[in-house]
Symmetry: C2
Subunit: 218 residues, 2 copies
Amino acid sequence: MSLSQTTQADPPDAAEPSLGLADALPIFPPRHERDRQALEASRAVVGLYLREGTADLSVKQLAEHAGLSERTFYRTFPTKEDTIRPYVEAGLHYVVAQVRDAAPQLPLREVLTRAFAAPLDAAMAHGDGVFLAVLRQNEPLRAVWLKVITDAEVAFAEVIAGRLGGSPSSAQARLAGATVVTAARLALEPQTSGARPSEVFEGCLDLLGPALFEPRPS
Amino acid sequence: MSLSQTTQADPPDAAEPSLGLADALPIFPPRHERDRQALEASRAVVGLYLREGTADLSVKQLAEHAGLSERTFYRTFPTKEDTIRPYVEAGLHYVVAQVRDAAPQLPLREVLTRAFAAPLDAAMAHGDGVFLAVLRQNEPLRAVWLKVITDAEVAFAEVIAGRLGGSPSSAQARLAGATVVTAARLALEPQTSGARPSEVFEGCLDLLGPALFEPRPS
DNA sequence: ACTAGGTTTGGCAGTAACTGCCAAGGTGGG
DNA sequence: CCCACCTTGGCAGTTACTGCCAAACCTAGT
């Protein structure tokens, strides 16, 4: 939801096809203002994770550090682990927007590598860097991270379909969306070679061949 | 771990590269006998989910239905949601074994479609069928499902590398492993067309092109 | 300015998930 | 038979999470 609908005018809660990315965070009725507050709180909590690690942090501490009462914490985040969700979604949304807003004449393959390169490398370097370590040391957090990026596949399918000209629910678009997310995830895994994430990502697209990211007769 | 190591002689807890699939279920020291008991209990719980749905089932009820005391339940499953893990892993392990044990002269592409076809279609039809509905209605369970199948990517990378002749940690093997899992997952999503999962899976492999599943000079 | 309506907030209490601890039982080897 | 060891089950305690209600806070209308 929060990922794909940013540009579209708010569909008045029409019954969407709901492929899984919809009905995320059903808590928020007014939407936009809540979202910003949630992201702010999310950033605060992630910052705490980066400095203190994830072990031995109770909800009480997380809430306090985010400037929320414990009760309001649970109105903002459905579970303790969902604290990282807005933070991660913000990053994904940025990449999706990059793909969507890139010059139309550029080939998709080019757009994807450009859109992913900087965020991937930044995620590995310091700054966000420790966040990956957080995910590696905390299984429940990694689980929601996986879920969030997987749900983002649909958003990527949409912007890819927008460029390729097909339906967002076509097999090609859906698979392409899933594939770029998978490639990005692999690029963030610890590499035996010293390659940067953006290089690994490009290598994955090379291995996949060009067919998937080219327009098709359908 | 439990996925890839079934045929190999137990490596005496050597320090593996640990790409994420390792250190799963660190609870089990003796391993094999515990695994069988866990799978049995897992099947029982899944059976209960299929009949009763997942809402309003406490750990106490799950444990009782599996013939375990509540305390032993938590020695068998680290969390309530992990009950489905052995059940899912068993299915994945079956497919991995099919790929590993297929006739060596068969092309990988052929092997994959044969290995996945039956389980995928069976998962959609009745029997396991409702299990997908369970995952769709219960977010936490879907999260662990995602995690389990994602961890299985490494096992698929290993058997694929075994067929292709490269290293299991090569970019090609790792990506191929991730890709087949992704394709299988997409095949199990609700389809607008009435296509069977095995057909969708094949369609995905077609879209990806043959390059990924062919031996390479490296 | 004051009030009425609705919405957000915080505290309190209750439930359910999970963990540490220990005593009881079961098993195998001397 | 007994002793070491492992597994089991119960109990108590902690932590995540929810329902409920009263106080605070807009906002609009008069």
